[in-house]
Structures are given as C-alpha cells and as structure tokens.
Symmetry: C2
Subunit: 339 residues, 2 copies
Amino acid sequence: MTETRRIVLASRPKGDPTLDNFRLETAPLPEPDSGEVVVRTIWLSLDPYMRGRMDAAKSYADPVEVGDTMEAAGVGEVIASNVDRYQAGDIVVGRTGWASHAAVDARQCRKVDPELAPVSTALGVLGMPGHTAWVGLNDILAGQPGETVVVSAATGAVGSVVGQLAVRKGMKTVGVAGGAAKCAYAVEKLGFEACVDHRDPELAQKLKSLTPEGVDCYYENVGGTTLEAVLPRMNDHGRIAVCGMIAWYSGKGIEDAMPLPKMWRTILVRKLRVQGFIVFEHMDRLDPFLREVGPLVKSGEFHYRETVTDGLENAPQAFLNLLEGGNFGKQLVRVGEGP
Amino acid sequence: MTETRRIVLASRPKGDPTLDNFRLETAPLPEPDSGEVVVRTIWLSLDPYMRGRMDAAKSYADPVEVGDTMEAAGVGEVIASNVDRYQAGDIVVGRTGWASHAAVDARQCRKVDPELAPVSTALGVLGMPGHTAWVGLNDILAGQPGETVVVSAATGAVGSVVGQLAVRKGMKTVGVAGGAAKCAYAVEKLGFEACVDHRDPELAQKLKSLTPEGVDCYYENVGGTTLEAVLPRMNDHGRIAVCGMIAWYSGKGIEDAMPLPKMWRTILVRKLRVQGFIVFEHMDRLDPFLREVGPLVKSGEFHYRETVTDGLENAPQAFLNLLEGGNFGKQLVRVGEGP
C-alpha cells in the first residue's frame, strides 16, 4: 500500500448536491508530521452538517475548498505515529476526511475501546451524534421528568439517542420521522410514546392530539414543516435546541417557509428560549456522556441502527441519500477491514 | 365626584387601530371590594404591548373583551381602601386601566415615594419599563463589560434605560431610533456611542461600520428591518432578548419580512440564544432594580424623557401616535391633579 484514495469537492453545489460535485483521487500515502498519526480508515461517518461545508459561506467552520478532501470523522487503525500515546495497531476516532488513509492531528483523536461495543459506534451512538444528543437534551433543553419533548429526525443518529435518553428521564417523548418503517421503529425499539410521519398532510393536527399538554422541549434537527407544526404547541417557557435544519440545507422550501414574525411572536408571547449549539464547544461533557451511555450500549439496553455503504467510492451517493432521508439510523461507509 | 370616566374597547382593530376602536363611557364611582383600594388616577401609562390586548388572540394575558375598559397601569391617589396597608391619600401605582377612577386589587399595587422622583416615573424609568430594561439587560442578555449591545427603540421608555445601564456597565452601546432628533438625544443625553435612524436606507451598512467587532447582545423591541440589519452582525454565542416587536404588531410588513430559514441558520451557525421574556415573571428583581436605578434618577445622573398628553379623552389618539413612534420617551396621559 503506497497510496491513499480520497474524495474531494470537485465543485460547489447549486441547491441539491449531485455526484458531479465529488471526485475520487489518489495520492501518495501520507507521512506523519510532528504531533500527527497516520490512520488507515475503517469506518467513515456521513452527517448532514457536511452539506454546509460544501458551500462557500462559512458555517461553523471554514468551508471545504474546491479540490480539497471532504471533511469527516472516521474510525481507523493507526499505521504510523509521531506521538507517544498512540502506537501502530491502536483503533482511534479522528478527523480522517473522506479518505482511505489520512495524517491526523493526534490532539483531535481519541482511542476507541473495541471491548465496549463495535468500533463503528464511536461515530454514532457513542460518538459525535450521541454526544450531541446528550448535550442538547441535558444542557441546552434542560429537559425535566414529566415534560413533553418532540424530537425531529427521531430515528437518526442524533434523534434516536435524544429519544431514548428522554424516555429514561421520564419525559413524554414524541418523535417525527420520515415514513412508516421509521415511525414504527421509533415506537417499538426506541420507546417513543408516538411518532408521526413528517410527510403526513395532517402532521400538525396529529402532533396536536399527541401533545394535549403542549410541548416543553423541541429538539430541532430539520426545520421546514416539522418546525411549523411544533411551534404552535410550544408551552410557556418552552425551549428549542437548534441542532440542524436539514430541510433547508440546500435552499429548498425557503420561499414556502412561514414568515419570521410568526416565530418571533411565539418567542415573545410564550417566552421561549431558542438556542443554537455545536457539540465541539462542549467537549467537557464527552466523559459524562460516555460514562452514562457507554454501559447502556454495552448491555444492549440502548438501541442503535446503522446504514452501511461499502466502499469509499460509494460515499458520494450515500451522502446524497442521507440528505433525502434515505438512511435509517447512522449512515456509515465501510472503507477498510477492521474490528 | 360620583362617577368615573373610562375608555373601553369599542371594536377590535383590523391592522392599524383607529379612534373608532375606542369609546369613552361614564360609570358610577366604584366601591372597594374586599382586598381592594379605589384609586383616583393621576397618570396613565401607554405602552406598545396594549396593541396585543386589542386582538382576540391570547398574547401574554387574555385579550381585553369588546366593551371592557382598556388595560393599563396608572399612578393615582387612594381615595378608599379595604386593606390596612393603604390609606386615603397614599400615592400608588397599579392596574387602573384607562379610567379616571378604578377599584384595584391591593396586591397588585405598590406605594410610590414622591420624595424619590416625580411620581410619573413609577410608570417609566422607575416602573415597569425600567424594570423590563434592567431584567432584559442583566438577566436575559447577561451583558458583559466590553461587549457590544444594540438597542432598538433606543429613546423609548425601555430602550433609554437599557442604553444608560449598558453604558454604565462598560458595554459598547449602539442605538437604533426613529429620526434625527431621537438619535441625537440618544448620543448626547443617554450616552450611546452612536445611534442610527431605522428609516435610513443604509441602516444595515451603517450598523455594520458601527459594530466592527460584531454584536454580542441585541435588545429587541421592534422586529422589522432593524432586526434584519442586526442579525448578520451577531457574533458567536450572541444573545437576543425579545421584548417587543412593534413593527409587526398590526400585521404590517409581515409579507416583506425575511424568511424564517435565514434566522434559523444564524441561530444554528452562530450558536445564538434567543429568548422571550415578560417582566411580570421577574418580580423578585424589582427591588434590586429600584435600589440601583432609584438613586441614579434622584441624583439626576440618569436621564428620562416623557411625552405628556392631557386628558383621558385624548388617550386613544396618544396611543395611535405611540404605535407610529410619535412619542419621544415615555408616553403618559395626565388624567387628574396630583404631586
């Protein structure tokens, strides 16, 4: 093995991304620079936030430049190391990008314990999505037992963790997801009290009848019609954790969105708190999250689901599917062999 | 004196209110019921929130019913009392409504000290608007020295207090107000570093050049184009205290408002906290507010300005002017004689 394969941003999308926006390239195998490790990628994580990095505008972080490797977290095996605390053979999670091998800043890596759970979970239920869910529910929404929470993208990598944590907290937990199969899974496996299809023309009405005492917390992953249906249900002092807005990422549906003053009036009159957050600013909460959720995953009490696409070359299509809600649970790409 | 005069809601407005929506009536002088005092109104407060009470929809509180007296706080003299702690002759502030005399629940009254400042200030700088400003800046925005705050309706009853408090805190304080005279007053008397006219077609550009380090806190009284100009300036972890939205109260400008997804994206990417509040839920903060601001008003260090309309019968026109920004500082109606 003397070269790495990687997927670069070939061009910026106009609206929905297409396969043309990506290009597969090869390059020489990287050497570890000072403070770096070289990782052979086993699993690659695909997440909705990556859509934002494809645009020229700054979102949380700088955009991916045209010609650069697409950003991602991956799980892989250390094959070369320039730092003492990582040895060849260690399994780590880090910012590999969409690549078969990558030189990664060791400070942004974390060892993965293969005894705890399959190592792919370090990208999902025990990784950034799970951590995001835990921070959002506990720190941003400050959900309390007996309160009602609505979770959008309820079977997604984040939403499925929010839902299970909320149920365990004793919250009345209602999901919104895409299609009957996902809704059934939310109720039967994840423990949601109910789950409504976001494409249901009676979404708003159904949500109303499912939340007779109103909604105290809304975990927002999607925007769009789901947000519009939840908003009128918000109780006084309700909280909205703004974690994502996948319905609007590609500029679709913006003309049809409800006018801002309606949102503003509800914030004012119901005294809502609406808060955006990004998990990278809550790294001090990673350990408490792992201490709580790790054992629940190991014991099998906590459910998670993965959609696996084989081969780095298929990552672009898998990503397009993800943006359309075609995945079911955490979307992964299997890039290489491993535990 | 055997009767009271009062202004009732004659009909609900469609869009902007008109004089036809109000009616002057007379009624027998009320007797104090158990736990009540009867107050002869001296000063009546007019505030933008009253527009919301004229609609059938619930806002913070139930709407005023057609035929009922318009809601308001007033300062007046106790002329009859059924509770021990108030005597005839006491000056109090309470929920008199738009009326020359009113029976008021004593638990909702507070004695006013005529030695501290003119008693009309109990409706403005030392009353609900000042208290609102203090809670909004200290508790909701949590403004810190060195941060930049933008205050809309900067010379209004609330905004003028926010501005002076922010300047004293060592914040960079920028105002938005209607017209050159108000802007000049904001800078020269209230100490704002700068103030921009919200009707200026270059509002967004000017606000940008006045906030080179971005905006950490936005005290929101108005909505509309001011909100649209401030939003792109918000820094990471910025806070928006949603206190009012006078530009949208009568349903105007809603079609032209920016689409919700733009706001949502900024909340997400900049990790904003947007919070609505109502001062009545922060009564535990009334004393700390009065302890800080009372002495500053008494010593003359703190500025306030009043627009006085004479005669209860002129309250409807004064209220219409207020909604158009025709007042300058706190809008009062002088209803009777007093200190």
